[in-house]
Symmetry: C2
Subunit: 493 residues, 2 copies
């Protein structure tokens, strides 16, 4: 960060002058440009020890305002070393997500407008751009027009809204009478697979349904929900007097990106009049790639679908979309209008569709991203990520020392080292992963599949190229040999 | 917006070049600088008709990527006319909130890092800066050190977490067993005043408690909760076999910024072992002003407090803080750790403290704001807003044609025109307000107090000066005379 000589001090009252804003703003733009250009120079995982940043910060806020140039210097001195670089092309942990320049521009303007999109009148731009942009994406994902989208912050919140809708649809007056102290209510039941994201657990806790209300259906050898077991579980629950009311199916589970059999599940839901929510938080973006459409077969039969452009559509965090068929049901679940929020326009007010009253102007960044890359540009990038993931899977398949542990429908791999010389493969793979992560060269995460530790490698950064995957492959092979050798040495002692 | 000649096209793959990013970035910085400098030239409320923006947007995303300069042109052409300018110094509706330059810079860097602060290792910077900055603010607000803060997006979500904690504290196994189908649970009861924000209603709906579980206690002539009536309600509920478990008291209600008698309420909560949540979403920031501390007397006795720096601390939306005494209880309410999220560090992972798994790096902007303005600068600005509000209240008091309808503890006024010549004062005031709003000169909102319509005027913009309030006062008087005269003319016909 270059700091200029002229200080940027806060005035007596009011805000920074336009001149100072320009000067510091250019500096930050330069900083971000340099940062992006040099992203590969940084260790992927921050190399600080826990509490390093905390211990280096003053214990109290400054009495007097500081020169903003000093603040920016501290971004270099204190913040940067404590950053884990999600934009690094070798960030392969969890899900590899990354922002794009267009997305950053969207956030800049959104912060400048600082609108709170509760009412149409307080934010016509946000209120009207949002449904248009979400309809653009809906078309790209090949979903029918009956799906209407709403932006929330995270998939956890989108899914929470979906489950709240499902509960409301029961017509049990839970909105008014609640569930406590009522003898007339049966045990309500929600179903998902063993591979479903923990946000479903959090949602049933929050909604007062309890974790016991969530039935986790076993998966097959491909980590897909066993729909026959779902059918049985629902049938058993009904016989026991319980009330099955919602199934959460996943396209792209978090551990392996497995795809539940949506059509079969939708059949069961239809027969039993059960609300079907599809969690496509990660994989939904991939629906824009024509040859990946088969993985989404049947999702148009869902009542609601969540997908997160902040995961795999180059949009800065946070932007999660809930597509629902019955927008009125969503409104009925949440709408409450205080006097000070009553207005005369006959318009959609977005505060009526969720727990949050104010909403950030999030559609702007998605609009920027969609226009700057175009449909073709977005498809091309996602297609390339899937190609790279398959390429890597081929390397694994062709190796005697590694093996794949799950199919690769999208751009995430689960695999492990399995050299014949080593017995405790979990320990070996954990060491390999931890040492690569600690080196800062790449970031991998793990999961457990059928009781064994699998290394997860996600391909999703806008900066990722084949050479980055080749680098990880070389690192893995090198570490595998080194750690195995060390193990052999230990054994000899 | 000046557009340069050289096009900024998306490359074949990857992201915008650093050179193009710099060019477009400078342009956006200039745009924001100009926008801020000329903010008073814009009508406060957008002047578009509903659907204008929607009708002017293409029905589908572009096939091919566009030159980014074209996108920026459309910000001027399509977005700007549809913006209601929250940063305008004459935005006095709802709560007047505004961002600051330092806050925008924070959002820029936060978007560039794009970190998801779920685990310490994925975001040490966010995980460690957050508690430090929130502790700075805690000290400024004169809260005891036992309060630990966490950042959420909105007060609705912060309060939802507080109520979920309160429910968890009951030890009724709601987290595991839920509330449906259980004969052993009494009716759970939450208490707040009639003036409490609708987010409490939404929280009890979501939590499965139902609106009937929320008891609204009447307020006195100053719109403060009647603590004697609270005591009676709790006692009656206990006699009826219900289970009172949470009271929400407010410092700075939304309609009038009235202050509930916290000490008296805390006494009742202590005697009955009831969780006390204090909603100071708006007014909490004012606790940093020493002479306003008396309004906060007793809030240190709460179990949890919500305050929103995005409301009155010049921090861009969104940034809401929940301060809690029992962080372990919050963790116990929500913590669930999936295999792929298990890490070896013995650190605080922020995903354990809430419904959302990922969190934006929100503390950065608050850190920037606190450092750039310093404690003195922030106090000075809030003090000035309160001075301006009192000044305006004096004008109202000194006028024969207007009257105050509620006390002014902070920087929000509730008043109305009351010329002797007019009978239907609600209609008159609604006309005055609507015509001023429609003109774009200022934005006022309304509420109903004791059945009559009150005009609400909030003073909170970082750009507001005495002349802006003088302008509104002149507008009000002019409109009052004009509308009254028109009314008289109608009457004569």
């Amino acid at each position: 960060m270059q700091t200029e000589e002229k200080p940027i001090f806060a005035p007596e009252t009011g805000d920074m002058s336009a001149e100072d804003f320009r000067r510091a703003g250019y500096e930050i733009i330069d900083w971000i440009a340099d940062y992006s250009q040099n992203i590969e120079q940084f260790p992927v995982l921050s190399q600080i020890e826990p509490n390093w940043l905390k211990d280096n910060l003053p214990k109290s806020a400054p009495e007097k305002g500081e020169n903003f140039a000093e603040v920016l210097k501290d971004v270099d001195r204190l913040i940067l070393p404590a950053v884990t670089h999600w934009n690094h092309p070798n960030f392969h942990g969890l899900f590899s997500t990354s922002t794009s320049a267009a997305g950053i521009f969207g956030e800049m303007l959104s912060a400048a407008f600082d609108m709170k999109a509760m009412l149409w009148r307080t934010s016509p731009a946000s209120t009207e751009l949002e449904p248009v942009v979400l309809d653009w994406l809906r078309q790209m994902m090949n979903l029918p027009a009956e799906f209407k989208g709403l932006i929330y912050d995270t998939a956890s919140i989108s899914t929470l809204h979906a489950l709240a809708m499902a509960r409301e649809k029961l017509n049990l007056k839970v909105r008014e009478k609640g569930m406590s102290g009522r003898g007339d209510l049966p045990l309500l039941r929600v179903y998902c697979s063993e591979q479903t994201h923990s946000s479903i657990d959090k949602a049933v806790i929050l909604l007062g349904l309890g974790r016991d209300s969530l039935v986790k259906i076993p998966t097959n050898e491909r980590f897909e929900m066993d729909s026959e077991k779902l059918r049985e579980a629902i049938s058993d629950d009904k016989s026991a007097g319980h009330l099955p009311f919602c199934v959460v199916a996943t396209i792209g589970t978090t551990s392996t990106t497995s795809v539940d059999p949506i059509d079969a599940i939708a059949d069961i839901c239809e027969r039993n009049n059960i609300f079907l929510h599809v969690d496509a938080a990660y994989a939904g973006s991939a629906a824009i790639v024509p040859e990946l459409q088969p993985y989404f077969k049947g999702w148009e039969r869902a009542d609601s679908i969540v997908t997160n452009p902040h995961k795999w559509l180059f949009t800065p965090f946070d932007l999660s979309i809930l597509y629902v068929k019955d927008l009125d049901l969503l409104k009925q679940t949440f709408s409450l209008v205080a006097e000070y929020l009553k207005t005369s326009e006959t318009v959609q007010n977005q505060m009526d569709y969720g727990i949050q009253l104010g909403r950030r102007f999030r559609s702007l960044k998605l609009w920027f991203v969609m226009r700057y890359f175009g449909q073709e540009g977005l498809i091309k990038r996602l297609r390339e990520h899937c190609r790279l993931a398959r390429l890597f899977a081929n390397w694994v398949d062709d190796s005697n020392d590694f093996e794949m542990l799950a199919p690769v429908p999208f751009a995430l791999l689960c695999f492990r080292a399995c050299p014949k010389s080593v017995e405790d493969l979990d320990a070996l793979n954990e060491k390999i992963m931890n040492e690569i992560n600690a080196s800062g060269a790449a970031y991998l995460s793990h999961t457990k599949l059928n009781g064994v530790l699998a290394i997860r490698l996600s391909v999703g950064s806008i900066h990722v190229e084949e050479r980055h995957l080749r680098k990880v492959w070389d690192l893995l092979n090198g570490k595998m040999e080194e750690v195995s050798r060390r193990g052999a040495e230990f054994a000899e002692i």
